[in-house]
């Protein structure tokens, strides 16, 4: 067992976990933050994307112990009561169907908007499609997801 401590969605989290515990297992099974999903469990699908120290990572491909001292944000921590502008955009643009991939899509989307904004780069439709390479949707398709991210980026800029 390893003692781990990190900040999850602004709250200190501390536990003793088996050394082979993945970050996604810690979030879902220890903290019961089940908004982060496990789709493929092989680093392909992106349903498990969370932010670690402000960067999007696949939480199925990181040990919980490696996140020692980190600041972790999950889909539950994205908004403060009201929906985050990116969540609103996904709702308004029908950016989801079954919704399984959506938490990862939204965490990836907010990460890409933050990076492009910080670098002063234009988040074009082409750039969004390229940035979504690590997130797989198996039902609604990417058209409305891309539209939602464009709209969400605009909403984030004006909020």
């Amino acid at each position: 067992m390893t003692e781990i401590s990190m900040t999850v969605n602004g709250t200190a989290a501390r536990a003793a976990v088996p050394d082979n515990t993945l970050l996604v297992e810690f979030l879902r099974e220890h903290l019961r933050l089940t908004g982060t999903h496990v789709g493929c469990d092989t680093s392909q699908c992106g349903a498990c994307v969370v932010h670690v120290d402000g960067r999007a990572v696949k939480s199925c491909t990181m040990l919980a112990a490696s996140a020692e001292g980190a600041r972790v944000t999950t889909i539950e921590g994205l908004s403060n009561g009201e929906l985050h502008p990116m969540q609103v955009a996904f709702k308004e643009n029908h950016g989801l169907q079954c919704g399984f991939c959506t938490p990862g899509m939204i965490m990836t989307a907010t990460d890409m908007v933050a990076r492009y904004t910080a670098n002063g780069r234009e988040l074009s439709e082409k750039a969004i499609r390229h940035e979504l390479e690590g997130n797989i949707c198996r039902c609604t398709g990417y058209h409305n997801i891309v539209r939602a991210i464009q709209d969400g980026a605009a909403k984030m800029a004006s909020s």
Partner: protein, 265 residues
């Protein structure tokens, strides 16, 4: 994933000592290959020694033409480094095309070359750039470092600390990514030194891993242009055949990617 003992190293010496004390230890860098491999039960180290906590192992330094990249520098950090983009733009392009954004936030250059996956991007870049791989024990030329499929010149317990090279006059990288994994089905890195000599390295195609292509190097040393590739014979001998494509297809991809690499330089 099987049970394991996790250790966080605080220094290189600490990492080496912890690994030596383990019955079957492995170093953990970004974990983007090692952890999936362990989840598939294709690797089962008794102990993982996490290198993330070691100071000074990450960062890109560019001093005139001399480039040094710390072993724990992530692909995202290499891809986004403005100085490197001026000195050796093809390497930032290469790093920006590995996996996907989330993988690039975790995966490291040291981890990638220590793994030496036959379809990984960095081995082609470092071999074509004639890079030097620095470890806690010695400096190894890229020509000596990559020794075959998933194998390197690293000794048991040896840690890569940094990679250095002289930025070439021109260089380019092009890959044909597998549409699902984004690994190279074939990737070609071409670098033209200040002396006009060209080094061309091919990844994703060789049955024995990354390799330099003499015919392409000779042709491009004589004439650094995409059309110079046309007259080069690329044999399918020694190339991989798998469910994605056969050796003859990869031989053709080598020429196509070489043309694109030179055109992009």
């Amino acid at each position: 994933m099987y049970d394991l003992n996790y250790h966080r190293a605080t220094s290189i010496d600490d990492a080496v000592a912890k690994r030596a004390a383990a019955s079957d230890g492995q170093f953990l860098a970004g974990g983007q290959t090692l952890l999936p491999t362990m989840k598939h039960h294709l690797a089962a180290p008794s102990d993982l020694i996490d290198l993330r906590g070691i100071a000074d192992l990450s960062g890109v330094k560019v001093s005139d033409k001399r480039v040094t990249i710390g072993a724990m520098t992530t692909h995202a950090a290499v891809a986004g480094n403005a100085e490197l983009a001026k000195a050796c733009p093809a390497l930032t392009v290469l790093a920006g095309g590995i996996g996907d954004p989330a993988v690039r936030h975790q995966g490291t250059i040291g981890g990638s070359i220590a793994t030496n996956d036959p379809a990984a991007d960095y081995p082609a870049g470092l071999l074509a750039l004639g890079a030097t791989i620095h470890t806690d024990k010695r400096a190894i030329a890229a020509d000596e470092f990559f020794t075959g499929l998933f194998s390197t010149a690293l000794e048991d317990g040896e840690i890569i600390t940094s990679i250095s090279f002289e930025a070439p006059a021109q260089c380019g990288y092009a890959k044909f990514p597998n549409p699902a994994s984004r690994y190279a089905m074939t990737g070609v890195f071409a670098a033209r030194g200040a002396d006009g000599k060209v080094r061309v390295a091919v990844t994703g195609a060789g049955a024995d891993g990354v390799f330099r292509h003499q015919g392409l190097e000779d042709a491009l040393s004589a004439d650094w242009s995409a059309s110079a590739v046309d007259g080069v014979a690329v044999s399918a001998d020694g190339l991989m055949s798998d469910i994605h494509c056969d050796a003859a297809y990869r031989a053709n991809l080598i020429k196509t990617m070489a043309r694109r690499a030179v055109a992009a330089a």
